[in-house]
Amino acid sequence: MTEAVTEQQNSQAAPARNVARLEEIRVRPSADVYRNKDAVRILIDVPGARSEDVEVEAHDGVLKVEARVSRGEELRVYERAFRLDRRLDASAIDASLKYGVLSLELPFRAEALPKKIEVRAS
């Protein structure tokens, strides 16, 4: 079975340093991905980020996370992207932030869950 969540490789996700007025530093934050039978849970370290700094977007099977945090003279941009399996319901993502860790919960679609079919005796 293929994994429900795979890392999306694109040029944007590669570390790059942009020199702007406020020194912009792009960071690939550490992430954990866990799964159980109902859902996939993604944890991403974004120290210093508040909920208004974080943007989570799911589009065309790609989940993009960006958090922009100003720290002193630098603007730290945390960026991560994941490719989502079709079995996951991207419209039902739940995102929360605690102690600088972003937590994303993605449930499997109801039709993707194993279903037991009862056999009737005729």
Partner: protein
């Protein structure tokens, strides 16, 4: 383009070193490797000092700060985030204990220490013990 691969044994050694200094990678937030500057920053002036450390996923009760003259020790613990019913798909965030001691050029005033943990960032502000400030001594004539 030449690609340099790190042999796995080297990787393992680095991991061991990490454990020896008891500074797991989570305390750096992965920033250090990218821009060669630690996510922890210490600023010292003549009378004050401020220290910032990235502690994502650490709660207040898991941070311990102790002070002894001009040494300040910070200990923290990050718990495993996985629940028993879950399988691991990807694991980059390490967990465990962090311990680091900073030596300041002057003794710290115990009542002037302030620590705040906000959004996964620990900020410490320290003040110099006023008794230790250099004093000018007047030379009297007999």
């Amino acid at each position: 383009m030449v690609q340099i691969r790190t042999p796995w044994i080297f990787q393992e050694m680095l991991d061991g070193m990490d454990r020896m200094s008891r500074c797991p990678s989570w305390a750096y937030g992965g920033v250090e490797a990218l821009n060669n500057r630690s996510a922890g920053s210490l600023n010292v002036t003549e009378k004050t000092a401020s220290l910032q450390l990235d502690f994502p996923g650490v709660s207040e009760e898991d941070v311990n700060i102790s002070l002894e003259s001009n040494r300040i020790k910070i200990e923290a613990k990050r718990k495993d985030a996985r629940v028993d019913s879950e399988d691991v798909v990807l694991r980059e965030r390490s967990f465990g204990e962090f311990s680091r001691e900073y030596k300041l050029p002057w003794p710290v005033a115990a009542e002037g220490v302030q620590a705040r943990l906000e959004d996964g960032v620990l900020t410490l502000t320290l003040e110099r013990n006023p008794d230790s400030a250099p004093r000018r001594i007047e030379v009297k004539t007999a």
